[in-house]
């Protein structure tokens, strides 16, 4: 069958018009992604199962052109709470929160870097309601720029949680992981080192790896923690230089370091505890070791200082929900081999069975404001002296 050119042109024009109408229609007629549901969300049992929830939610999301995102009203129940989150368990938690409280909530899920970049780009007219990511230094940076609402109500926390609440209550911890947890290849390294000095031994030459703090957000607190533990920036730099001289491999992310480990290119990697414990649970032969004075790496929530009061109130509700037993259940089941492997800061909540008791670990906290201010300089130094 052959088309006459005019017919073909007409068909092309019709296709174009149809698709354009479709585009407009798609953005104006759908309903809220996480609008309150009739039944509460059932906890996902696997990480990929949780993405199915996303897919389902995504298929019915709302976008109203010509309207401020905060002003999007969900069935007359108040303004939409826009959650920016990098947590593996955020999809099911947001959905469950909306179902439990009736607050219309929408989610933008991404890695920490792109989320912070989005917030930066939105500065002229912020759209986000709350930010939920790992690492107190990121929140300290936002707080110092005046982007966070101070004086948040902090629900009751356990002792570990209380330690990481900032004095101005500009963010609230929701769980704890550890930076620079050692994960090792038991085949290559049957007797892993028990001290930081042990990583400098000749037997580990060329066999240790870690992430680049300039790329991997959760690695900066680890580097800052090493410096604090060693007695200051200079002493920390000296230690890291020795590690480099001993053949330290620097990768960009946890995944890259784990790949070096599983393929035998290194014998021990220093990564975030949730990634380490998850990898050890799924990959035979990998084991986790906790060196002394590990740096506490809290996940936390901060609220947009410029958000309307009603949105801030909804964000406060979200914080309370997340630290409630129902919220903790969502967090602990949403990403079972990843971010769900955290130590709870909510009182009377036990960590998942894969984790040792928090009290059995030797840990330290860093001041996010002090060390956050040094982040650019230290990352630059690391890039020029350790990564290269």
């Amino acid at each position: 069958m052959h088309l006459h050119p005019r017919t073909a042109l007409g068909a092309a024009a019709a296709l174009l018009a149809a698709t354009a109408i479709s585009a407009c229609g798609s953005s104006s007629t759908t309903t809220h992604a996480a609008a309150p549901a009739a039944t509460s969300a059932s906890p996902a049992t696997t990480g990929t199962a949780s993405t199915a929830a996303t897919a389902s939610a995504a298929s019915s999301a709302t976008n109203v052109p010509g309207a401020d995102l905060h002003a999007n009203h969900g069935a007359g129940k108040g303004p939409t709470l826009l959650v920016y989150s990098a947590q593996g368990y955020d999809i099911n938690t947001v959905k469950a929160f909306s179902a439990a409280t009736g607050v219309p909530t929408e989610l933008v899920d991404d890695s920490t870097g792109p989320l912070l970049a989005r917030i930066q780009a939105e500065k002229a007219d912020p759209q986000w309601g709350l930010l939920w990511v790992d690492g107190a230094t990121a929140f300290a940076s936002l707080d110092q720029q005046g982007l966070l609402r101070k004086g948040l109500q902090v629900p009751p926390l356990n002792a570990a949680g209380e330690k990481v609440v900032p004095s101005d209550h500009s963010f609230v911890p929701t769980g704890i992981t550890m930076g620079c947890t050692a994960i090792y290849n038991a085949k290559l390294l049957p007797n892993p080192p028990k001290t930081w000095a042990g990583l400098l031994s000749a037997s580990l030459k060329g066999k240790v790896g870690m992430n680049d703090p300039a790329v991997s957000g959760p690695t900066y607190p680890c580097v800052a923690g090493i410096m604090q533990m060693m007695g200051g920036v200079s002493a920390g730099e000296s230690y890291l230089k020795k590690l480099k001289a001993n053949g330290l491999h620097v990768s960009q992310t946890n995944g890259d370091t784990l790949h070096l480990l599983t393929t035998g290119q290194i014998a021990l990697g220093l990564i975030q505890s949730s990634a380490a414990i998850g990898a050890a649970a799924t990959t035979p032969g990998l084991k986790v070791d906790f060196l002394p004075d590990l740096t506490v790496l809290p996940s936390a929530i901060g609220v947009d200082a410029k958000a309307p009061a009603a949105v801030q109130a909804e964000a406060q509700k979200f914080i309370s929900y997340v630290l409630s037993p129902a919220g903790q259940h969502q967090m602990q089941t949403g990403d079972p081999t990843g971010d769900s492997l955290y130590w709870p800061v909510a009182p009377n909540t036990a960590p998942k069975s894969e984790l040792p008791a928090f009290s059995s670990l030797s840990s330290q906290t860093i001041n996010p404001y002090t060390w956050g201010a040094r982040e650019a300089a230290i990352n630059g130094w690391f890039t020029n002296n350790i990564a290269q």
Partner: protein, 589 residues
């Protein structure tokens, strides 16, 4: 702005020009490009000197960030980027030109298969290609486990791979489809008559080649420019092989400025300006090389050329060359995909490693891919349709003679847009379309599917228009004039004369735009509406939540799905397009 153009009125048997106002093509297209491309990119780049304009700092005017971009590590990364861009462009054209000639002008066996191979290479994300190479050559990698001989190969090749040579190799191979498409688009003008004329006047094979190759010079330069611009804006190779080689490129520095604390949009914008500057240099070189010459060889007198018939030995050599090329260009990324998605335990050394389809089954079973895939599919179809229509007039503007400084600026803007990572476009869209002014004007588009679609179109239009520059540059205006002389109006003349000539390349534009949009990440990340996950964002979420195998399986399934659509569209074109359309430029067997 309106342009006065002559129309015609009939007086007796004479046609007398009548002047009436008409909105010129240039005006319309400049307006479209301004809204879609120039203003958002310009806004972001403006932040480099005036951060306060968009609340990105306290200075109204500063050159501090340009100082940073032109010093130390940033300057070094810029020079590395230029080197990689030039090397990759040369490599891509060196491979793409003979490949296009073999497929379109010879009877080499498996021509359709090789065409599919080119599309597969085009669809392969650059980071996957780079990872494939690393998986082969890394210490304890695939080659190290494949016997002493291949271990020696890995040991020998590892040094060059982790450095500029390897990066140019990977970027160059990834650029081959661009070169192939650009050159293929020009081949209709390369009729056998030119070669025969040269031979008749005593030229040998080399002499005939010297006559013939300049005819497709615009396409070759277009290919060089596109591959150069695509390479210097590529992030996939920069963040994998580039980082692992500690050979930092400008795009890596730009992304770091945007994504790492402390975020610095002004520094990223300054680095972006340097990339536009590099594109400008490439454009200047292209213009100097072509020296304003016209290459309009595709006219009513163009005759189909014949395919070169290989003898058996020649056939074996030709097929061997093509097979080796695809083994290297496609086989390696396939290794990357296999090692990432088909091996249990990430191919660990613990003895538990083996082939499995578990991750594919899991992805298909829980349906995680369905909604994002359909969402991205819909937007890709829309974007491809719009870009297909817009790219023709834009390319027409680019190929017009005597456009003066405006044309040159347009050329620079479009190539500059290709040379900039799409992250710049995305950030620019937020800066402009999230301004309170836009909200008060009732244009609060940020956070909507509509704005995401606009950004996709803006991101795809510049490089897709360039694909059409080659064939349009060869289209003799005499063809259109003849049609007008015979009474056809402008649009009808275009539909009856130019469209048949361009139809194949317009379909290619649709396919390329579709594929590019389907997997686009930076624009999607910045602009996707809350709750509506595009495919690339969903895959990225899987990967960053440590579900590497599931994420890779999603990626492979998506590439396969996109390939099916590409195949269907090509088949439909073959089935539905008039035979005459398909035979324009086709060689006779």
């Amino acid at each position: 702005m309106s342009v006065l153009t002559p129309a015609r009125r009939r007086v007796g048997s004479l046609r007398i020009p009548r002047v009436r106002p008409r909105l010129g093509l240039s005006t319309v297209m400049f307006t479209v490009l301004a809204v879609l491309v120039i203003v958002p990119i310009g806004a972001f780049l403006l932040v480099s000197v005036s951060p306060r304009l968009f609340v990105q700092g306290h200075q109204w005017f500063t050159l501090e960030y340009f100082g940073q971009a032109f010093s130390g590590a940033s300057l070094a990364s810029l020079s590395r980027t230029a080197l990689v861009g030039v090397g990759s462009a040369l490599l891509a054209v060196t491979c793409g030109l003979p490949l296009a000639l073999l497929v379109h002008r010879t009877n080499v066996i498996g021509r359709r298969l090789w065409s599919v191979g080119i599309w597969a290479l085009l669809l392969s994300p650059s980071y996957l290609v780079a990872i494939g190479w690393e998986r082969l050559f890394e210490p304890a990698g695939v080659l190290d486990h494949a016997g002493p001989l291949l271990t020696s190969v890995a040991t020998f090749g590892r040094g060059p791979l982790y450095g500029p040579v390897g990066i140019i190799l990977v970027d160059g191979l990834k650029g081959v489809p661009f070169a192939y498409l650009a050159v293929s688009a020009a081949l209709p003008g390369l009729g056998s008559s030119f070669e025969h004329a040269a031979r008749a006047h005593g030229a040998g094979r080399l002499g005939a080649l010297r006559v013939v190759l300049p005819i497709i010079a615009p396409a070759i330069w277009t290919a060089l420019a596109i591959v150069f611009a695509e390479t210097i804006s590529d992030y996939g190779v920069a963040t994998t092989l580039g980082y692992d080689s500690q050979y930092f490129l400008a795009t890596y520095a730009l992304y770091n400025a945007v994504y790492s604390i402390p975020l610095s949009f002004p520094l990223a914008a300054s680095i972006g300006c340097t990339l536009v500057g590099l594109a400008g240099i490439a454009l200047f070189a292209q213009r100097r090389a072509l020296n304003g010459r016209a290459y309009r060889v595709l006219s009513g007198r163009t005759r189909p050329c014949s395919r070169h018939q290989f003898r058996p030995l020649g056939q074996v050599v030709a097929v061997g060359v093509v097979v080796v090329f695809f083994l290297i260009a496609l086989g390696v990324p396939i290794v990357g995909a296999v090692s990432a998605s088909l091996l249990t335990n990430d191919g660990s050394i613990f003895g538990g490693s083996g082939l499995t389809l578990h991750y594919y089954a899991e992805v298909l079973r829980d349906g995680a891919l369905t909604a994002p895939l359909l969402y991205s599919l819909k937007l890709s179809l829309i974007c491809a349709a719009v870009v297909m229509v817009l790219s023709v007039p834009v390319a027409r503007l680019l190929t017009r003679q005597n456009t003066g400084p405006v044309g040159r600026v347009l050329d620079l803007v479009l190539l500059g847009a290709v040379a900039l990572p799409s992250l710049v476009m995305a950030a620019g869209y937020i800066l402009i379309y999230n301004l309170p002014l836009m909200h008060s004007l009732g244009l609060a588009l940020y956070g909507t599917t509509f704005l995401l679609t606009l950004a996709y179109i803006a991101g795809a239009l510049p490089n897709n228009s360039r694909i059409l520059v080659g064939p349009l540059a060869q289209l003799d205006d005499g063809l259109l004039t003849s049609a007008r002389t015979h009474g056809a109006s402008g649009p009808v003349a275009w539909a009856r004369v130019a469209l048949p000539v361009l139809s194949r390349y317009v379909v290619w534009v649709w396919l390329y735009c579709f594929a590019g949009t389907f997997f686009e990440l930076p624009i999607s990340e910045f602009l996707y509406p809350p709750g509506k996950f595009p495919l690339s964002v969903m895959i990225n979420k899987e990967l960053s939540n440590y579900h590497y195998s599931e994420g890779s399986a999603m990626e492979v399934l998506s590439v396969l799905g996109a390939l099916v659509i590409v195949g269907v569209v090509l088949a439909l074109y073959r089935l539905l397009a008039p035979r005459g359309w398909r035979q324009v430029g086709a060689a006779q067997s």
